[in-house]
């Protein structure tokens, strides 16, 4: 670059060998890859995050398995495992907002925002990195499930389906978290609200008990909760005799639609974090 001064500059800006959409994907990948490299430098976070699903399956699951009838005729641990998988993805994704605020406080976010990358590419890049994190979580939960003798299937189509649901679920909740971060703006407030948000999302869903057991008002909330459809899809795909209550394509449509909506909202709000 230094051998050929000023004219190069004009050249670059005129000649764009990458087509628009390829450029967009490059920018999404740039953001996602940076996050993945960070995870590669320090994977300890993945292991500490594995503790939570382990505790739910080992402590909560073992006790609740003694209660007959929660999961109909099936075994409760089989019922619980997909719920805990969805939960671990949710809990990992929901703290993406904290990371976003942290990046803003440091100044790293300014570097993203002055780049020519479309704001939605930046949001999607973060969402994609969350998907990778979610998939790493899933491997750990699968390991735990096998150890506990849960009836997990390893049919390639099912594995692929689970991966898709995990990826979209992670993208959805990390983008939701980013929107919350754009609203609350400080880490302290986010810490408070993060707890307040994750618990209702988790409990007002079919993750650890069927919606049929809920009172009417809670049922209504659960039907409006994307986590319900995430869990429903995982329940159908993860277990040997799994079945979906609402239909896999319905689950997937809901999740994709909500994700697209959230990405669009986040792309509008994200730039305001640096002002």
């Amino acid at each position: 670059m230094l051998d050929k001064p000023a004219p190069v500059l004009a050249l670059i800006h005129r000649r764009r060998p990458l087509s628009c959409s390829a450029g967009y994907l490059t920018q999404v990948y740039a953001v996602a890859d940076a996050e993945i490299q960070k995870l590669r430098h320090d994977p300890s976070e993945l292991l500490t995050r594995a503790l939570q699903p382990a505790i739910w399956l080992l402590l909560f699951g073992q006790v609740m398995a003694q209660v007959r009838g929660i999961a109909g005729d099936g075994r409760y641990l089989d019922f619980l495992a997909p719920g805990i998988l969805a939960q671990s993805v949710l809990f990992a994704a929901i703290f993406y907002g904290i990371a976003a605020i942290w990046e803003r406080d440091l100044g790293v976010l300014h570097r993203y925002m002055v780049s020519p990358a479309p704001r939605s590419a930046l949001v999607l890049g973060k969402a994609a990195s969350s998907a990778v994190r979610g998939l790493a979580q899933a491997i750990i939960v699968y390991g735990l499930a096998v150890i506990l003798g849960i009836d997990v299937t390893f049919a390639p189509a099912n594995i692929a389906g689970v991966a898709i649901f995990i990826a979209i679920g992670s993208a959805l909740f990390s983008t939701f978290s980013l929107i919350i971060a754009c609203i609350v703006k400080t880490r302290e407030r986010f810490m408070g609200i993060g707890q307040v948000l994750t618990m209702p999302i988790f409990f007002a869903s079919n993750a650890i008990y069927p919606i049929d057991l809920m009172p009417g008002w809670l049922k209504a909330i659960s039907y409006a909760n994307p986590l319900t459809y995430e869990v429903d899809g995982l329940r159908a795909l993860m277990l040997t005799n799994g079945a979906s209550q609402y239909g896999l394509s319905f689950d997937l449509t809901i999740l994709v639609a909500v994700t697209v909506l959230l990405v669009a909202v986040a792309a509008r709000m994200y730039p305001h974090m640096t002002t």
Binding site: P5, Q37, K38, L106, M113, P116, T275
Partner: protein, 273 residues
């Protein structure tokens, strides 16, 4: 400053009555400024004078309340994407990612600026070489000294060969040796790439030594613009830039900015030291 061609005479940065208000506070008040191609322009002023707000508007991070600004011919409000493609920005805050290596930070920038895949390696290596950090390429940035982080951030901001570079207090928190190294690199970028550079500082010796022209910002208004020599000559024969600064900013006590300013300055000073 020698002007080599017609094209070089055009203003690369051009603002007209640029204004930004936050509620009742007018942070930047009717600033009209022209910076020519290949110029190193220094913006000086006390804390809270509006330097960072002005830079944020010029880098498209903050929309103006009124007035216009054009960078390399592109309006910051109507064509933000084109403006972004033509500028480099070194924020006052720590913008290199500490959890990544220098190489990974540069790769991130190369991809965001859509530098073609074939050229990435070459440009990253050239940037590392220009900033004297080839040996540190694959080390994580959190182990770097403040001077090295600054040089990396400058490298990240110039890889796409921007027409203009904005540097917000690039030497804050650096020791004199590291500061001088940054100055040398800034001059080198201008010489080798022909980049126009706008720099904010509150160090008078930095402004005096590095900048071709200086603008003095006070209470959001651009009070004076001129070469360091011109500004000093206006005050008196033996005047220094400190005298110019004191004259323009008046008897008002420089209070040191808001809590947020102090927190940010110290945080970045800590990170960069």
């Amino acid at each position: 400053m020698s002007v080599s061609s017609q094209a070089d005479e055009m203003s690369i940065i051009e603002t007209d009555a640029l204004t930004r208000r936050f509620g009742d506070l007018t942070a930047v008040d009717c600033v009209s400024l022209q910076v020519s191609s290949r110029e190193i322009f220094g913006l000086i002023g006390p804390n809270g004078a509006g330097k960072s707000t002005l830079i944020k508007m010029l880098t498209t991070l903050l929309p103006p309340s009124s007035g216009t600004a054009r960078i390399a011919g592109f309006d910051v409000v109507s064509h933000p994407a084109q403006v972004r493609a033509h500028i480099g920005y070194v924020p006052q805050l720590l913008s290199a990612d500490g959890a990544l290596t220098a190489y990974e930070n540069l790769l991130l920038s190369a991809r965001l600026y859509l530098i073609p895949r074939k050229e990435r390696e070459m440009r990253i290596n050239a940037a590392l070489k220009l900033m004297d950090m080839e040996s540190a390429a694959h080390r994580q940035v959190q182990g770097f000294s403040g001077g090295m982080i600054r040089r990396l951030e400058i490298a990240q901001s110039m890889m796409h060969e921007p027409v203009v570079m904005f540097m917000d207090e690039p030497t804050v928190g650096l020791d004199p040796v590291a500061r001088r190294a940054v100055w040398d690199h800034v001059r080198q970028i201008r010489e080798e790439l022909g980049t126009t550079i706008l720099i904010t500082t509150h160090l008078m010796d930095e402004a005096d030594e590095l900048c071709d022209r200086i603008g003095v910002l006070h209470a959001g208004r651009l009070q004076e613009v001129g070469t360091p020599q011109e500004l000093k000559a206006r005050i008196g024969p033996d005047a220094t830039l400190d005298d110019v600064f004191a004259e323009i900013t008046g008897t008002e006590i420089v209070s040191g900015g808001s809590y947020r300013d102090v927190r940010q300055t110290r945080a970045s000073a800590r990170a960069h030291s």
